[in-house]
Subunit: 386 residues, 2 copies
């Protein structure tokens, strides 16, 4: 293998695939990145795979000699990121006496590195989807769905299906993204303005993808144009996201996803409209005291004053109160929440004003944006001693 | 106690004294900040003290009622830093039935906090220096001395005197700052252009101050003008730095400081001049491989090529080489260093070019800036197998 490329191309593509390099690999070769030089295409392909998530990327290079090998991902990235801008040349040194002893010379203007690699033949192949279904989605819709849902999935991977985001097609509503960790639920309906992409949705789509893999997908999508499209293909066990020179593969989580639609109340006796940023900053303030104890905030909705009062009490330490104007429909009520769950949802709702709809103090509450995104965030209130 | 002040004044002064709040206080009251409202002066004084380092600061406020109390430093700071800009009012609530039960109401435009405090009478007094010696120093000289020396002190407080910076007056050279952790030594001669301040130096000054306290002093000095002056007063056990409305006190370390001047060679058989930034970035590059193993870099000084070659070898992983132009006087030589020690000193030397002076591979090497700061950084080389 022999090629010359720019430091910035190699650096940015290494950072990208590094997200799929496991920090504690079960198989030592997974700590390496697979590098394939394609002389015909004049391209370098990089691959990393942690057995759930796989990322492949390619970039242009002046390839003088085909070849492949794997190199320690972190070490290579640490070196390349510190090199000055300019050309880098990589050449393998095969040891004729020992096929397993592979070294590369990495040469830049200021000096040279010699790094020991492992043969590419030992690297596991990235999963593929041969006969699965296919969908084309605009980047904007996918990003909107992920940003509005993935945060609500469980961070605990032993929670299996709850650690994923559920993608589902509905005859009426197009594509829906949902995530829940058992304490809160977030549902986003994708905005598929292009009728073609809606028609292309298979009516039966219903897969749950690990949120961890989707967070990496979200970062990768951030560099694309909102109108670019992503090709999804999936079978029972794998999903592949293809976009130009890049690809992300993920395992699909097994099991039936909870019937979350049943959890969302259809009717509400109360509605409170408030300024979202003001609510977030007030919650951040009172959270200082809540953190000391139980992380609970009390909402006192006051119809007569047109006011929402947040209050927190930390025994032996102190109390906090913050008030803000609110448009209230229905009777006044006191209701309490876990601040962390509230904050996560309020940060994902992207509009200036938001609507909180509720019934009684012990029944689920939903938060929705006023205009824009079609998102529903459901939180269960907590009990407080009066 | 009752006063009104601006959020930004209270916030910046709390951040300042917080540096002297111990993270694990031996006495629980030291986790609090002492707050004194002075109606006559229309000022608020804040004090924090970790038994070694003490910081006091004052700022203007509309004081309606004298008083003092202590409040949980971290909690108060967390609240005030999150409040919007504007006025804040603090009022104490004394409980007539229980003198120990002190609460304050902190009120801002958006709401109110109630925080429980502890009586100010329990807070230990900040050490003072009554009959000690006094010096006046310009901020620029003190900052130059601290920046060039404090990093070389031992971070291990059990190393006693080596965890401090030694301040010393010399008849010829004015004021000198020195720090060593046993592996390297840094000495800075203060630039006292103002003859008055030189004359004011007591000929016998010789104190060692904990580097940790001096790092906080360095941060506080950063906000002053270089030509501002600092009043130092010290006795056998304490030193006080006074500057306008702020004061820092520190314990003085006991014991004789090592006779470091004897360690610095007077004559050298070799001299190498290089670009400092280029040397730092090359060391950062080869350090990627050195970190894997022993943190050692080899310098190959080549007189004929006019070159300095840095090289590192990490067994089973790889090798790195970086070359740069160098002006060499004396014979070529190979010599090795611990990269960390080199880097610390090179970052503190502030000129574009630096001079490395040495004798043999096993004798101390000194690094000095070309022009500007009068600083000497001494490092012991390490042995490498050839």
């Amino acid at each position: 293998m022999k090629f010359t490329c720019s430091q910035s191309d190699l650096n940015s593509n290494l950072s990208l695939v590094n997200r799929a390099v496991p920090s504690r690999p079960t198989n030592p070769i997974l700590a390496n990145v697979l590098m394939v030089a394609d002389e015909e295409a004049q391209k370098i392909n990089l691959t990393a795979f942690d057995t759930t998530l796989g990322i492949r990327t390619s970039f242009n290079a002046e390839v003088l000699e085909d070849g492949s090998l794997t190199l320690p991902a972190k070490l290579l990235s640490d070196i390349v990121s510190r090199l000055p801008e300019g050309e880098i040349t990589l050449v393998t040194h095969d040891n004729e006496n020992n096929q397993e002893d592979i070294q590369i010379d990495l040469t830049s203007a200021s000096g040279q590195f010699q790094i020991r690699g492992i043969s590419a033949t030992e690297y596991p192949p990235l999963p593929t989807v041969e006969d699965g279904e296919k969908i084309v989605l605009p980047v904007a819709a996918l990003l909107e769905g992920l940003r509005g849902s993935a945060f609500a999935a469980s961070a605990d991977e032993t929670k299996q299906i709850l650690s994923g985001v559920h993608f589902k097609t509905e005859e009426e509503s197009g594509l829906e993204f949902a995530a829940t960790d058992g304490h809160r639920l977030s549902v986003v309906k994708a905005n598929l303005e292009d009728p073609d992409s809606e028609n292309s949705l298979p009516p039966s789509l219903s897969v749950t993808i690990p949120a961890k893999a989707l967070r990496e997908l979200e970062k990768m999508l951030g560099s694309l144009q909102p109108t670019d499209t992503i090709n999804l293909s999936f079978d029972e066990s794998q999903i592949v996201f293809d976009f130009g020179s890049r690809r992300l593969t993920s395992r699909i989580l097994e099991g039936a996803y909870p019937a979350y639609q049943q959890l969302v109340p259809r009717q509400f006796s109360r509605q409170v409209t408030v300024d979202r940023k003001r609510l977030i900053s007030s919650l951040e303030l009172v959270a200082v005291l809540a953190d000391q104890k139980n992380n609970i905030v009390k909402f006192s909705v006051d119809r007569d004053r047109g006011q929402l009062l947040l209050s927190v009490e930390a025994q032996d330490i102190g109390k906090a109160k913050q008030a803000m104007p609110a448009e209230v429909i229905g009777d006044s009520i006191d209701i309490a929440f876990n601040i962390k769950y509230l904050m996560d949802g309020l940060k994902a709702l992207s509009t200036a004003d938001i609507k909180m709809q509720l019934n009684e103090w012990n029944q689920p509450v939903i938060f929705t944006p006023l205009g824009g995104l079609q998102m529903t965030y459901l939180v269960m209130p907590v009990q407080i001693r009066s």
